[in-house]
Symmetry: D2
């Protein structure tokens, strides 16, 4: 069976510069559990990158980062509001319920993978009206970039976070693809997070060139103190922490993480631009990060298949819907081949950004 | 401040051969979540090593391996019996309670870090007599090697496991230092585990040369099916699984794990042999794996300090108690220096194995 | 403010015959925690009523009965499928998540408060296709009578339970209004429960004349053994159990529970029959138990209000939707007054049963 | 088999005056879930009795009161320090772990069923020194009266609570026999609770004349808001709340609860006074509330048995240890018979209070 092309940003290995940093980190002995020098450097660099004191908790997966973050914001009798397509709801096997000891995820609808401020406000009012019969809303979770490959604008984030805070909730951002969202927004990390009202960030590194490390970025000392315990209790405090920290350092130093995200996003624009020009093709979602959801007509799919390029069908009501995910490690030869196959079907190539 | 010598087997980096395997594993794309080739090979090699079908769940820490394992054996209303010094009870911040959703750890006393079959039997009878007022005993956990650096004999393991099974409990082995125990026992892994009644093993690799991977080894398909869900739900299913699998493969292939453990154990014998011969020195525990608990007289401590060798004081009733942990990565020059300092105090060097 | 009429079947006090039984039960000393004579009699009578060995766990609320029951069927990493309007999902503040330690409730749509066999089958297939990313379905919960005042037929229950069992799930019935459903079905309790595939029943007594006791009826000895522990651990094992058992005994003895349910259902038919004949009135749901959901035109509402009868508005898309709940303790004078007010608006009184 | 005399204060039925209040409460309809008049009156009376605003949560058992209280004070990653004989640790099947979602109970030693301020201080220091490897201490629980039938003095309570608060912990009092402790102390409820530093009280009523209601008394509005959710979520919010409130009202009104406790305590003094004078008899604990732990010589046990009075053997190292529990419902004829049997063995009856 031919493996689908652009299957996932989990397929790539480790960025060579991050791998080199891991090899370098292997020298000599080091104190365990984050008392080593590299971990101190990683913390300092995160503070610099986010332009304030932050607390950093490396985690082996994004699910762990999400679960711990939500647990720090939500009591067991609480509720978390998120988009109905949020990864924490659809794809993490109940991790949110596990880490929070039984809080409930409440799904909010919304076009293009985002829920609106108005939808949030209405949901909170409806739940409040039902009183003690409902789990108490304690947090919201924004997926940035969203599961549809779209990005909340800064204004949207600020308005949503403002409503949440006004109602006594705190704000989690699931940033498994945070770098991709950030380069789309074109703003500093601080603007996209704590300055916009985000209380805690699941900071994705693995999809963007890391080997096996994401991180929680915490903007509050009290939450950080609590996470110290929760992280250990969840089996997520690594003894040889230097190897997680080395990945964070190498990723952030010199902006490698942003370069990688720019490349992934640019590749998505190239592919989507070609596809959008095909007669009968429809982009199911605006392309703002590194994911493309597109409905392709049979001839295009056949031509691609003829060139050995199979795409991943994606569940949904639209016929012929496929998902493509680009990454820092995309094969230029594959992209060139893809574009060449598609070109004949593309009467008018789209060159402007394909965003909303 | 001088860093203590022989502080912990968490200080070392990655064994160079395992690091090389990680670098090699970085080539090309690979399916995520364990669907890659290296993961298949790692599973196959584990089956070979344990001489039967086993199921393998890589975890980023030993605490995660213990927590998941115990959760698979114990319902939330259950209890787990373990030694009063067991790591799961004393050092994991309540991970057992977290993963099991609130089961209770029941501490059993026992000399040299081990509890006896008789102690287990008496405890089970006492709990059963109290009926529904007690959490229902569902599992035991054996730490092998123990927190005192000692090793349950095969006969002890078999008898204890037999009592557990007879009472409807299942048997977990916390093998953070399983390799060290195994080379002390001098038997195949199968003899030390499932053939002796162990149902699930936390298989330590990180302390023994790995970078950031331990593993759960499951001997039962039903438990494995359950762990598939639990592992994902706990944020422990890594996307780029090939890097965990590469560590397991490199560690097991060619017996690297046993070689490393042999070296660590041999170093412990060398150090302990020298120390045991010192007038006024007392080994607080038999030295059977890679840990030494020793009470040293002031002159010896002073002489070591004079040579820049500070030891880690260990809490306990004995004055001058220190812990030394050896590893695959011990510095031969440091060992030589250590032995040279101690020699003048050691009237009669002990050369026979220092075990019970 | 005028209290709404027919507000809830929780408003009534205790049936006088059950109250008398409580007074009688107060004589002398009795062994605690269910070792008393009345508790033995209650268990025996339940076995007789259900025509087989059953295990009985009195609980102080229906929510406790539901939560414990679901926990006995569902592991923490599991999922429970139920109707989107099920009380366990909409009105119990996350009790299902609490008792199960974090399982997830999955909402199924369905007209008239019931989900269909086909809906269940499709949902199970869809979840199974998504593999380990989803909580593992472990149980379904049928609300009987449903939150819409309707009743699953025996054939529906059997078909749904068959699909659940075929997929490895077990079947819970939330019978907060089980007696009302049963008299509608006109069959013995055994037919409506274990013979139809129900594994565990939340048996509502409080709404039907009890003071403060519902019960879990278990049809399986293994589940019962587990519930012994869970019940104690949840603070639900009452010391002076004789007072719970006395309520169960008095309720079941001589069929008082069925008489009370018949009276409540008959009252619902009388009220609904009158309302359904009013021009502009619409029954939003078939009336099969003791609840009426009806949209009433303004003149009828005004006439009732003029007679001091205010109805409880019910949230929903239909304008003027109200809910009326009848009970064993309905005031005949109030009913007569109600019917008299409505009569002029009711051109053609409906006399046939108002069921689907 | 002869039932032991003075077996438990759970054997008695309901105090006739409380039963009468239940019968009276049955009149008419009432709003459910605590919105009824009796519940408002019960809350008001509790405020009066405790001389400040308090929040009242009726519970069906003391275990439920303890579990909810501890959950309100302790996060899932926390620890609760209590006496090694505390009911929450020894007799509630893991309810503390259940309600807190996995916090740990840490056992403190102490003579006569009480731990000392010094023991608490040392334990907190030891745990703090171990950092993140330990669950974070969040609460202490004082059992008042203790499981040994003794009572913390006001000075002891204040000192212990002061240490707890100083270390950032909060204070729970398990008052299953609070009334018995209070009449021993001879002070107002306020002095024994919030004025001494107690943050939340499990207020026992069932053993002291109630039918099936204890209560949580909360001294803090924030905790109360949280308990509103937790109580509902645990299936402990009763629909026909008036019947719980009626018991609270009848118990507190006119001091019935204190009269009942005085009678129980006085009976304990009478029995213990007679036993303490017997040659060869030893009180194992001071008798300060309504429990007697006594080692009796064989002739006395035989004489009692000859009169049909069997005592309950109690586990412990002392030969012949028995426990007797007195209550408001003790049979005067039985007491007279008991005293008559014992008198011949009692050379010098003890008439002064048998307390420390």
């Amino acid at each position: 069976m031919t493996r689908p092309a652009f299957l996932s940003d989990n397929e790539a290995g480790t960025d060579p510069r991050i791998l080199a940093a891991l090899v370098a980190a292997n020298e000599g002995l080091a104190l365990p559990y984050g008392a080593d020098d590299l971990s101190a450097q990683a913390r300092a660099l995160c503070c610099e990158v986010f332009e304030r004191e932050v607390f950093v908790f490396p985690t082996p997966t994004g699910t762990a980062a999400n679960g711990l973050s939500l647990a720090a914001l939500t009591p067991p009798y609480g509720a978390i509001l998120c988009h109905e397509a949020a990864h924490i709801l659809t794809s993490e096997a109940g991790a949110a319920e596990f880490f929070t000891s039984g809080a409930r995820l409440i799904a909010l609808p919304g076009a293009e993978g985002r829920f609106s401020a108005e939808t949030l406000r209405a949901a909170l009012e409806s739940i409040a009206a039902d009183g003690v019969r409902q789990p108490r809303p304690a947090a919201i979770s924004l997926t940035q970039a969203s599961e549809s490959g779209t990005v909340y604008t800064l204004a949207e984030t600020r308005e949503i976070a403002g409503i949440a805070h006004g109602a006594g909730l705190r704000v989690h951002m699931d940033g498994a693809r945070f770098a991709n969202a950030l380069v789309h927004l074109g703003c500093p990390p601080a603007e996209a997070t704590w300055k916009a009202g985000v209380d805690i960030l699941s900071f994705g590194l693995t999809k963007n060139g890391g080997m096996n490390t994401d991180a929680i970025i915490v903007f509050d000392a009290g939450i950080a103190a609590e996470l110290n315990h929760r992280c250990k209790r969840a089996g997520l405090a690594q003894s040889k922490m230097r190897f997680a920290s080395a990945q964070i350092l190498a990723s952030l130093a010199g902006g490698l993480w942003l370069d990688n995200a720019r490349r992934a996003n640019a590749n998505a624009q190239r592919l989507a631009g070609a596809l959008a020009g095909c007669a009968g093709a429809t982009l199911a979602q605006p392309v703002e990060a590194n994911e493309i959801f597109v409905c392709l007509p049979e001839p295009v799919l056949a031509a691609l298949a003829g060139a050995g390029i199979v795409l991943r069908p994606w569940p949904g009501p639209q016929p012929g819907l496929c998902r493509l995910v680009t990454s820092f490690a995309d094969d230029e030869a594959l992209i060139a081949r893809f574009l060449a196959v598609v070109a004949p079907y593309s009467s008018q190539p789209v060159t402007t950004p394909l965003t909303s």
